[in-house]
């Protein structure tokens, strides 16, 4: 490949600039001539021109599955691509363990809970339980991380007390199901309680996760980091190492 990438690109099938893509989808229409026309109409609206309907198959009496090939008439401007960079490097479990062992010289302690009335431990369990999420094992799997998972409907004072007793390095709170901004109220109550209970500068790292939190609202909620939908245990572990077992950092 040449080193100079053009600023404008199109999809590559087998020739530069051919724009060829392949898509598959299902329409809630019985399979007949009209269904195939409908598929081509959708392809055209997706910007595929010319579009080639290569496969159509009935899926039961009411649905049809299609595979369409076509040339996408959209152009991609690489100059306009914006990427939000993760502020920390992604580490493997072995690297996380090594960093904790080498730099902390003890296990990193994480206390986790669902607070408020939320009984949905799915988020916290996905991150903490060994079973993990998206093919990655949870933090319990990491030899150098001690996990205390308090489960659901934990009261904030209980969480603070347990974090102190365990000398937690990080506290992780999950809020999945929420009504009338309960996740925001719960989180600010939690962060305030920790700041009250600990001397300044010694508060454990406060991490919250859940699908309803806005990215970038961490400071407003008084926590150190927010993780959204689809976060994997490996990302969280890497973040913890970045914040807690990093020699250059003040923490």
């Amino acid at each position: 490949m040449s080193t100079a990438t053009p600023d404008i690109v199109r999809p590559y099938g087998d020739t530069t600039g051919d724009g060829m893509v392949q898509v598959s989808f299902t329409l809630p229409v019985p399979h007949d001539k009209r269904a195939e026309g409908a598929a081509l109409q959708l392809a055209a609206k997706m910007g595929l021109d010319p579009a080639l309907l290569v496969h159509a198959k009935a899926m039961g009496p009411d649905f049809t599955f299609f595979v369409v090939y076509g040339s996408a008439n959209h152009l991609v401007d690489l100059r306009e691509v914006q990427v939000v960079e993760r502020e920390f490097p992604l580490l493997t479990p072995a690297e996380v363990n090594k960093a904790v062992k080498g730099r902390l010289r003890r296990k990193l302690v994480v206390v986790g809970a669902c607070i408020g009335t939320d009984a949905h431990t799915v988020g916290i369990d996905a991150i903490l339980n060994i079973k993990g999420f998206a093919g990655e094992k949870g933090l319990e799997y990491y030899r150098e991380i001690k996990v205390v998972n308090l489960g659901a409907q934990v009261l904030v004072p209980e969480l603070v007390a347990r974090a102190r007793a365990e000398r937690a390095d990080a506290v992780m709170v999950s809020q999945v199901v929420t009504q009338r901004d309960a996740h925001i109220h719960n989180t600010t109550a939690m962060s305030a309680a920790f700041r009250e209970a600990y001397p300044a500068g010694q508060v454990p790292l406060l991490v919250v996760g859940g699908p309803r939190f806005e990215e970038g609202s961490a400071a407003r909620l008084g926590v150190d980091r927010i993780f959204g939908r689809g976060t994997t245990p490996g990302e969280v572990a890497s973040y913890l190492v970045h914040e807690l077992a990093h020699p250059e950092e003040e923490r």
């Binding site: 598959s24 989808f25 299902t26 198959k57 899926m59 039961g60 649905f63 599955f65 009984a119 949905h120 431990t121 799915v122 369990d125 339980n129 060994i130 079973k131 993990g132 998206a134 093919g135 094992k137 319990e140 799997y141 998972n149 489960g151 659901a152 999945v176 199901v177």
Partner: protein, 525 residues
């Protein structure tokens, strides 16, 4: 299927006797304890249903009340039917309601009063047991009428929308597309609830709550579909977590056909107390045995945490332990859907041959069990095209090694909940492979000193070594020590920690539970 592997019968016998030695002390422990959930399941068999306005089930109220008054050491039924005999309330439901408001006092009756209470309790619980017996007979009759699936393995598909009224048409469609078994995945987090929700439910997270009413609705719908298709469609749910015994009882009452029920899954992967798990598990398996339910064990989970080659023998060990616990609880070979999975890294040379070796080993160790063959998850990367090929190879192993139950792999595993088209493509994949290669088992004879046979013998040898290590552990119950040491799935789970420990009670000398008596004697009155 004729034996393909040349395994040393002495080694196989040794493996079984070590599993028995590891399991027996745990059974003793299970026999000498009860749990809040075992007691609640007993009340459910006696017909106590429903919940208060805050949706706390009456069985929870009654067990908690009795426990607070006189403890559960004697079982819940004796003080409850004593209170009924003393006319504290007209019936069980009223008694539970009155007890919730604190207007009933319980006592441990003695002499004639005790005999009277226990006899009445037995009569009430026996009605539930007879319902389970009737449901089993109904299943047998429907299978005779509609027939079993024409092919082996049976095809197992999952539905899970969170809304039982959405699940029903999806399940019926899946059956029309070729599924023989429908599993309704539970809402995440239900395993850690210490009560069973009530009624038909329309919201769940990544699954649908297991409730008696949801069971009933789905079974009724699949009965219609069975009739339409001329093939009995089986229904599966999950007897695991803190309410394992109650869910098992509800499954028996509502004629579910298969239940996920592993001896150690809750301990290792949900951090449920080991003693709680083994006590609950024994009771739930006794119910499953009586109800003619096929259990599915969870060995596939070990391979998602540990490496599928290095930890292959832990699957064998767990299968042997699951077999021991299952038989002890009265389950027959045809009811043991022992699990294993296609989880070897596909980049590893000879990965397919290793899979064949492991699957054949399980097939031959448990020749009469309907083994449950689980699809790849760990190495499904989001590249759906590669995933589709991997699922094809998974299906091929299933066809070549005579698996009993095949959970259909989705190419969108770890990407999205399956699209309608994903399910159809997955079933096409299964049908193609079974059609094209279903008879291959007949031609497939790996040579004695070849790679596959040697690998199978190696895994069996490692399993025996691990069982020896477990039985050499100190203490009254070496298996519990081994679990505490992190032998399985790399998790350390001590016997005096974990969720649900507070619900475990040591039985007193006068402990009585008519459900256990009827299940163990086979009596129905």
């Amino acid at each position: 299927m004729k034996p393909v592997l040349d395994l040393d019968p002495a080694t196989v016998r040794k493996a079984r006797s070590l599993a028995r030695r590891a399991g027996r002390p745990v059974v003793k422990l299970a026999q000498s304890h009860t749990t809040v959930s075992v007691e609640r399941a007993t009340l459910r068999l006696a017909g106590l249903t429903g919940a208060d306005h805050e949706r706390v089930p009456w069985v929870n109220h009654l067990v908690d009340r009795v426990r607070a008054d006189v403890g559960l050491e004697h079982g819940v039924t004796t003080p409850v039917w004593d209170a009924l005999a003393r006319a504290e309330a007209d019936d069980l439901l009223t008694l539970a309601q009155k007890s919730a408001s604190g207007s009933v006092t319980f006592r441990i009756p003695e002499g004639k009063d005790a005999t009277r209470a226990q006899r009445a309790a037995r009569t009430a619980v026996a009605r539930g047991i007879r319902t389970i017996d009737r449901q089993r007979a109904t299943r047998d009759r429907l299978i005779k009428r509609h027939g079993d699936p024409r092919q082996r393995p049976w095809i197992y598909l999952i539905v899970a929308t969170g809304d039982i009224y959405e699940d029903i048409p999806q399940a019926q469609n899946a059956a029309r597309e070729g599924a023989d078994i429908i599993a309704v995945i539970r809402s995440t987090g239900q395993s850690l609830l210490d009560y069973v929700p009530e009624g038909a439910t329309r919201e769940g997270y990544a699954g649908t709550y297991a409730t008696q009413e949801n069971f009933r609705l789905m079974r009724a719908a699949l009965d219609e579909t069975s009739k339409e298709l001329g093939r009995y469609i089986r229904l599966t749910n999950y007897a695991s977590g803190l309410c394992m015994p109650e869910i098992a009882a509800l499954a028996g009452l509502e004629r579910l056909d298969m239940m996920l029920n592993d001896s150690m899954y809750g301990i290792l992967f949900r951090d449920i107390n080991p003693v709680r798990t083994f006590v609950d598990q024994r009771f739930s398996r006794q119910v499953h045995a009586r109800a003619g339910i096929i259990i599915n064990t969870g060995e596939d989970n070990y391979l998602t945490t540990a490496d599928a080659v290095d930890a292959a023998h832990t699957v064998t060990v767990s299968q042997l332990l699951n077999e021991y616990f299952a038989k002890e609880a009265g389950l027959a070979d045809w009811q043991l859907g022992l699990g294993h999975a296609f989880e070897i890294n596909p980049d590893l040379p000879d990965s397919f041959r290793l899979e064949l070796a492991h699957a054949l080993l399980a097939r031959q160790l448990f020749p009469d069990a309907p083994l449950k063959w689980m699809p790849p998850t760990k190495h499904m990367t989001g590249d759906v095209f590669r995933g589709y090929l991997l699922d094809g190879f998974f299906n091929l192993v299933g066809a070549m090694t005579g698996q009993g139950i095949l959970l259909v792999g989705m190419m969108t595993e770890a990407v999205v909940t399956p699209f309608l088209s994903d399910r159809d493509l997955a079933l096409q994949n299964v049908r193609y492979v079974l059609n094209a290669a279903g008879g291959l088992a007949e031609d497939f004879h790996p040579p004695r000193e070849g790679f596959i046979q040697s690998r199978a013998r190696q895994v069996l040898g490692e399993a025996v070594d691990l069982l020896e290590k477990i039985t050499d552990e100190p203490g009254r119950a070496p298996l519990l020590e081994a679990i505490a040491d992190g032998t399985f799935g790399l998790m350390r789970r001590p016997a005096d920690a974990g969720k649900g420990l507070e619900g475990v009670v040591a039985k007193a000398t006068g402990y009585d539970n008519p459900a256990t008596t009827l299940l163990e004697t086979g009596e129905s009155r």
